[in-house]
Amino acid sequence: MIRIQDLMFAYEKHLPPVLQIPDLIIKEGEYTALIGPNGCGKTTLIRHFNALLLPSAGGVWIDDLNTREARNLVEIRRRVGMIFQNPDNQIVGMSVEEDVAFGPGNLGLPSAEVGRRVKEALAMVGLTGLETQPPYTLSGGQKQLLALAGLLAMDPKFIILDEPTSSLDPAARQKVLSLLQNLRQQGIGIVHITHDMDEASRADRVLVLDQGKLAADGSPAAILTRVEWLKALGLAPTQVTELMWKLRQRGETMATNILALDEAVNEISGLLERLRASSNGGLPGKAGRSV
């Protein structure tokens, strides 16, 4: 469990705070999407989760470990793994297997155990067979999977990702996203910063950050369907939610909590059904409707 209490963060004492979160709890096995406009403090917030940043006031706890205490540092970083945007800058090793071994090596595990974990982690992300490859021979997607394997080898409770898919092609993106779903099912807590509302819609919970404050916290269906509000924040709603919103704008009666494509299809065919009935079985068209 990641627990935040009265968190305030400012880069300098005399500067205004860039982050103010009164309280927040993130649980294991929960997939949380963190969204918000550029510069709203998303990255600053997640950097508090593994003690890369320490709060100016208030505190952050991983289970019962306070991030302020230096002796907790290694254990906190074992429990809370972090993936950054650019995969190239998080690869340390000269070969795939050695890179995965970096984290367990930092924990001081014996070689045999390191080896076992490397093998397991590579199998989990599907990079088995590439052990001795130098990392620069991998594709962008494989590099991001390698970074994930590096975290999994540390047996984390949480994985925090800062726009992990922004530089990936669609196929690689799907692979990373479905792997995250798998990990969530295995009980790992995922916190995923994203600009893509389609990615956010796969989460269990959506947190919206605006100007350093928590502007909303709820289910994807409750938050991502607030199309106008998201747009005002400078976020791009999903096509499905925007379509439903535009139909509502035209005065159609549509449910307000539709997020998935299938639900939207049902809703629209329902609408067509109603129109067909009202125009005595004729197919609805522009002419038909104006009657």
Partner: protein, 273 residues
């Protein structure tokens, strides 16, 4: 999987060819990296003091070792290729600047070339060529990760002057790890500038130098950016000062004891002699 040379053309020629690891299963490959590093150091000291006969003997030994390591002579010579101009220059320096005593090859007043100059030039150049060859044998038979872990172990005594051998090993590893990344980056910067009309190949030296400078500047900035993010990523993965473990710890085998024994004998003979 593509052959390495097809996917990474920079491996085919240029500086990058200097002693790239050649994956083989041989007794030389299996030696403990610590033993190999020390052997190269001992060998180098011997070479720097060798006369012609011992130099020839040492060359023979180096070729025998590379044969044992199943590295083709051609690969070994390819490693020499990038440094040949430097050696040629070195040879000329000896030829022209050794005082010409005794019999002269050439006597043009100011410029005098003696047989001695040529002899010394050949000997010195031979020594340097052999140094490069044995260093290449080390890097061709030892992966960079083995070399770093070997260095880490050998430098452990530095702990008494509060220098962490883990940090040094990591620095070496990171430098090696980022060479290909930075090469790729330099190529993309170069292409971006070519696309906007830059010219690196023709024109006056001054203009080409300036074009090269325009490469260095963005590359330096990007190195700093890499560093920044890398430090965060390393910390996030639990890196800290102090002890850490590795995937493969070097193990001392019987062959390692033999080679170490031979080296000790050689060093003692040299000292006594």
């Amino acid at each position: 999987m593509l052959p390495v040379t097809a996917a990474f053309p920079e491996r085919r020629g240029g500086v990058y060819n200097l002693g790239v690891y050649v994956h083989r299963s041989s007794p030389v490959h299996r030696l403990d990296p610590r033993v190999k590093i020390i052997a190269v150091i001992v060998f180098s000291i011997i070479i720097l003091q060798a006369d012609v006969i011992s130099l020839l003997a040492a060359t023979g030994l180096a070729l025998a070792i590379s044969g044992l390591a199943r590295i083709p002579v051609r690969t070994l010579l390819a490693a020499l290729h990038p440094v040949l101009p430097f050696f040629f220059f070195l040879f000329l320096m000896y030829v022209f600047f050794t005082p010409a005593a005794g019999k002269r090859l050439l006597d043009w007043g100011v410029i005098q070339i003696g047989y001695q100059g040529v002899a010394v030039g050949l000997l010195q150049t031979g020594r340097f060529i052999l140094l490069v060859i044995i260093a290449s044998i080390l890097t061709m038979t030892t992966s960079s990760s083995e070399i770093t872990i070997g260095l880490e172990r050998l430098l452990r005594p530095l702990k008494i002057i509060r220098i962490s051998s883990h940090d040094i090993a990591l620095m070496v590893a990171l430098a090696l790890r980022f060479i290909p990344t930075l090469l790729q980056e330099m190529n993309s910067i170069k292409e971006a500038q070519l696309a906007r009309g830059a010219n690196f190949k023709t024109g006056a030296i001054r203009g080409r130098m300036r074009a090269a400078m325009h490469l260095i500047e963005p590359l330096t900035l990007s190195i700093f950016r890499h560093c920044d993010e890398l430090v965060d990523a390393m910390e996030a993965r639990g890196y800290r000062q102090g002890e850490r473990t590795y995937l493969r710890e070097p193990v001392f085998s019987r062959a390692d004891y033999c080679v170490t024994g031979i080296m000790i004998i050689i060093v003692i003979t040299m000292l006594v002699w």
